[in-house]
């Protein structure tokens, strides 16, 4: 979890260079944190393990992928939280993937051949310039 600020900083820098506005940067930061923390909190007992992040920011679109070595997990199986229930019936968790689906255009998932998961977030950007960069985050 200690790598989160560095990861967010790289994502914001690369996406800003690709023309992402403040709204898009907020959405991407939220989506990246939710995926990253979900992997660490639920994928790895003890909360640490390898996560490799790749950012591909092109004019008009950014793709951010997360490769882990955690047990296979398809985020499409996550049930959307109930948003209209009173406080007493609210559960403390369950919003992570809900937020991700709300703030990016597409969420892709595929199991990796060697084990683990590859999550990819795709979001359209209203812009012109381009940038591409890979970033490896190893959370050990």
């Amino acid at each position: 979890m200690g790598d989160l600020p560095a990861l967010v900083s790289v994502v914001e820098q690369v996406c800003r260079q690709a023309g992402a506005d403040d709204d898009a940067l907020f959405s991407l930061r939220l989506a990246v944190e939710e995926v990253f923390t979900n992997i660490l909190d639920y994928g790895y007992p003890g909360g640490t393990g390898p996560v490799t992040v790749h950012i591909d920011a092109q004019p008009g679109q950014v793709r951010i992928s997360f490769a882990d070595a955690a047990p296979r997990f398809d985020p499409a199986t996550v049930v959307a939280p109930k948003l209209d229930v009173p406080l007493e019936q609210r559960e403390l968790g369950g919003f992570g993937w809900h937020f991700v689906r709300q703030v990016v255009d597409r969420v892709e998932w595929e199991p990796r051949e060697q084990g683990g998961n590859l999550f990819t977030l795709v979001k359209s950007l209203p812009t012109a310039s381009s940038s591409q960069q890979g970033a490896g985050i190893n959370e050990d």
């Binding site: 979890m1 200690g2 989160l4 600020p5 967010v8 907020f26 930061r29 939220l30 944190e33 939710e34 990253f36 923390t37 939280p81 948003l83 209209d84 009173p86 406080l87 007493e88 609210r90 403390l92 968790g93 919003f95 992570g96 809900h98 937020f99 709300q102 703030v103």
Partner: protein, 112 residues
């Protein structure tokens, strides 16, 4: 993240500055819990300086709301910024939390 607590009559005002994310939320959770366990169950969180929160921040708010309301109190928010409001709306929290434009209104709401 900076957290400062002041008291106005029976209301504790928790002024938060910074981002509420996976690295900072535990400190905020601990401060709010300490407030409640020391007898302050009427809380106002001044979020004018909070530019970002993720789902873990909501977890903090929800846990504190439940804890305070069980004891006859509440956690109310003031000065919520657009990004934080967006997260509250995405989660349906705007229907269960009381939001105010400024600290004075939030503090005053407990007198009603």
């Amino acid at each position: 993240m900076k957290i400062e607590i002041s008291h106005r009559d029976r209301v504790a005002v928790v002024c938060v500055v910074g981002s509420v994310d996976g690295t900072t939320a535990p400190a905020l959770t601990a401060e709010l819990h300490a407030c409640v366990t020391s007898g302050n169950v009427h809380l106002v969180a001044d979020f004018s300086g909070v530019d970002y929160t993720s789902s873990i921040g909501l977890r903090t708010l929800l846990a504190t709301m439940k804890e305070t309301r069980l004891q006859g109190g509440d956690l109310r928010l003031s000065n919520v910024t657009p990004n934080v409001l967006k997260v509250l709306e995405l989660s349906g929290f705007t229907s269960i939390m009381k939001l105010y434009d400024d600290v004075e209104s939030a503090v005053g709401s407990y007198a009603v």
